[in-house]
């Protein structure tokens, strides 16, 4: 899918910013609007047809994540996880607000769900995802994300954990 209407200047600015903040950053793609950090997908075992993708998103301006797709899975959804009276509940949500300049973590409360995986995901492999982002002017942006597959028991969350 094409990337419509992303100004070259914005691309350059984002490139500059993301290389300026390399510490701890892992593979990710930055378009003008959105910076993606620490993207990864949890490995699966044989027979397992779903998994989660996790990442940190920072939008330069107010926007919404409205969808995602990947050739690795039949369906890709944005999920919200909640603990209600000690019960873990998970639901698909239509969109996720990305307030300007705020890093939105897709690690626990939100994640990208890959459903109907075409094959087992093994650590070291790469999964490419395309995020659909809607900016405040109603323009859609497609942002490619390169997410390495991490071990099934990989610790969730940031590359620089809060608690350590």
């Amino acid at each position: 899918m094409a990337v419509p209407g992303v100004p070259v200047l914005a691309l350059l600015v984002t490139f500059f910013l993301s290389t300026g903040a390399t510490a701890g950053a892992t593979a990710g793609e930055a378009a003008g609007l959105l910076t993606v950090r620490d993207a990864w997908v949890r490995a699966t075992v044989e027979g397992q047809t779903g998994s989660g993708a996790f990442m940190q998103l920072t939008s330069r301006e107010d926007a919404r994540l409205i969808g995602a797709s990947s050739r690795a899975a039949q369906r890709v959804e944005i999920h919200e996880m909640r603990m209600v009276n000690d019960m873990m509940t998970m639901r698909r949500i239509e969109s996720l607000p990305l307030p300007a300049g705020t890093t939105v973590a897709l690690d626990h409360d939100y994640h990208i769900m890959l459903i109907g995986l075409s094959k087992q995901l093994q650590p070291g492999q790469i999964v490419t995802l395309t995020l659909q982002v809607l900016d405040a002017r109603g323009m859609r942006h497609a942002v490619d994300v390169v997410a390495p597959v991490r071990a099934l028991n990989a610790a969730p969350g940031r590359s620089s954990p809060k608690h350590d």
Binding site: G47, G50, S51, M81, D86, M88, T89, M90, M113, N153
Partner: protein
């Protein structure tokens, strides 16, 4: 025949002893667990000794062999409900259990992890065999008929619900860990977000003072 200075000394000694005892009790009490009915032992997790959760059960393991809770007498059992298609909570919990066993060092082998799937329709014995031991070779995955799973979850006051949103199956389930002592009694309910270190502490408490 009273000796005022001797009495004062006795009082001082008693005061110091009382203070030392209080300090000892405080230090061994942990940071939580001061509320609700309890067995008197202090845990990081919730003391559920008086709530009569769980009890004997038999389910099928990853080789379709029957396994009963009583098979694990002498070990502390960490029991969690979940399903293999779970993107975050279940792998995080199982990874935490593996960490607990590592933290316990020589006592690690005295902990048995049981992962009970609430989604036995999708979680075949084979899938459990691929999934559960990948966190730790000693972990055991258990499954059963819906009636068996319903009976076990009910006995632990755990809940689950399989929700089908146009083919997108999500499974809601109790995320806490049940810590079962060496005699098969459910003692502690550990919240999902309790750190491995605290869970390991609680396990150690049960191993040391069963």
């Amino acid at each position: 025949m009273t000796d005022p200075s001797g009495a004062r000394r006795t009082i001082a000694v008693l005061a110091v002893a009382a203070l030392a005892l209080a300090t000892l009790l405080f230090l061994s009490s942990g940071s939580q667990g001061w509320f609700g009915p309890s067995s008197g032992v202090r845990f990081h997790g919730r003391d559920v000794a008086l709530e009569d959760l769980g009890g004997p059960f038999t389910l099928s393991d990853m080789s379709n062999q029957p396994r009963s809770l009583s098979d694990f007498r002498g070990k502390v059992v960490l029991l969690a409900f979940g399903y293999t298609h779970c993107p975050d909570v279940c792998p995080t919990t199982l990874a935490k259990f593996a960490q607990v066993r590592r933290l316990l060092g020589a006592d690690g082998p005295r902990v048995q992890v049981l992962f009970v799937t609430v989604d036995p329709q999708r979680d075949s014995a084979e899938l459990l065999r691929n999934y559960v031991p990948s966190f730790d070779p000693d972990f055991i995955g258990l499954r059963g008929t819906k009636a068996q799973i319903d009976a076990v979850t009910k006995s632990f006051h755990a809940r689950y619900e399989i929700v089908d949103h146009q083919g997108d199956i999500v499974v809601d389930h109790t995320a806490s860990t049940y810590v079962i002592d060496t005699r098969g009694k459910t003692r502690i309910l550990t919240p999902y977000d309790q750190p491995a270190r605290e869970l390991a502490d609680d396990v150690l408490t049960l191993l040391r003072s069963p």
